[in-house]
Symmetry: C2
Amino acid sequence: MVWCSRETSRLLCPIGKIKSKRQQAIADREQDLLVIAEQIMEREGFSALTMDKLVSACSYSKGTVYNHFNSKEDLFCALCIKSMKQLLHLFRRASHFEGHHRERMLAIHFAYRLHAMTRPTLFLCVLTAQTPAVREKSSAERLQQQTELDQEVTKICTSILEQAVAAGELTIATPEYVDALTFASWAISFGSNALMSGDCDSGVIERLDAEKALLFNVSLLMDGMGWLPLSREWDYQNSWQRIGSELFAAELLAISDMDKAPISQF
Amino acid sequence: MVWCSRETSRLLCPIGKIKSKRQQAIADREQDLLVIAEQIMEREGFSALTMDKLVSACSYSKGTVYNHFNSKEDLFCALCIKSMKQLLHLFRRASHFEGHHRERMLAIHFAYRLHAMTRPTLFLCVLTAQTPAVREKSSAERLQQQTELDQEVTKICTSILEQAVAAGELTIATPEYVDALTFASWAISFGSNALMSGDCDSGVIERLDAEKALLFNVSLLMDGMGWLPLSREWDYQNSWQRIGSELFAAELLAISDMDKAPISQF
DNA sequence: ACCTGAACACCGTTCAAGT
DNA sequence: ACCTGAACACCGTTCAAGT
């Protein structure tokens, strides 16, 4: 992997390769730090996350923390990467949903929404990591890893689209069309989720509304693609629920527990 | 305006009302400060914008600057508001485009893309202002003004949609459907622009690609709505160009000058 | 009623000394 | 080869004194 050339003398930790015991320990420590950072944000808000607080909340020294993240922004970038890795796992599961290919793509969008709900903090880290102030000060390695993950996510969508074409569900003018359709799918999902997470101050009713809106938006887009069966010929509301119960039952249970907790407490 | 109750003893400056000469001077100063802040970001990058730099770049004292913005994040929020006001102006112009209603909605999307290109810094301020770290520390007044502007933008879209329904271009199941369609339009535009501005390091070819992708995405969505004439019955590529030349000729000229400038200089 | 800038607390980052 | 934490520079914010 060419991009792994390290001009900075940071901790050795080749990505996606077999690690020595020492390297593994370092990687574990990094995961510890990310968990602690996430906890600070959840407890005290995003702006409360400072390097000082992270250092005093963990068992390592300032210098060691800075061996992992060469700036506060780099830490945010690392959180964004963690978020995208989780998303990728959900997407892989979604891509094997038992149904036709349009339903599988819907499962991808379901997974994205699910991630935004179950891990709101990590989801917002992705948003924050798109910010120029963060990108300017993140390490080249991590920015590269970010685009790599982006490509892997894209690959999953592309593959579903290609299968749909092969199955005759979808007709495309040229092969490059698939990339355009992937981008459109990604854009509607990102846009919907980002705009919805803006005012997520309310409770359960809002959540159901948000899901409905996403399903609606995605359905419009796929109908526009001419992806069969069209929404007037198929009950995607039902597909949506099937995806939830067959693929993500455990995660949804965790959410409803989260919803209940604050109510029973106050 | 109820929400204008000011618990903080900040500078008096009622929004959208007639201002006294003194209040006008204060409002002008605020605009000065925003221009300077924008210049700092353009010259030195987003992370270079500090309150110290803003103070030394302007002719006012630290205390005075803090009378306008009660935190650095509040300053970002103010820049976001400025950005949205400019957007609103462009949208109003777009909404009067000479053509059918689907073309008018397309003009809205054109205006959004145009704004992202001509004022990239301000556009990215909107993205930054969605970030929880900024929202947490912005003043209640400005956050309120932000949602007010959001609503005004929404109103323009809604009105175009309603006119399209009245003209028989578009059929909707229930009146609330209009809100859902507005949200979908907003989501595809925001999503496309946000994702595209992520890697806007390149030149002219990229720009044309970005425009093509946006037109493509929007067309898919509107086709999905069943908004007549459908993209297979009408040349929206041509509409796109007409919008540019008839509505935003001056702005487009400014962009091509910007593109040329760095080439001739280096 | 508003402006000023010194003063303060905290935060991000570095690096010489240690193991 | 990596860890440590004192030290430093800078940044955000406040507020008593001034007009």
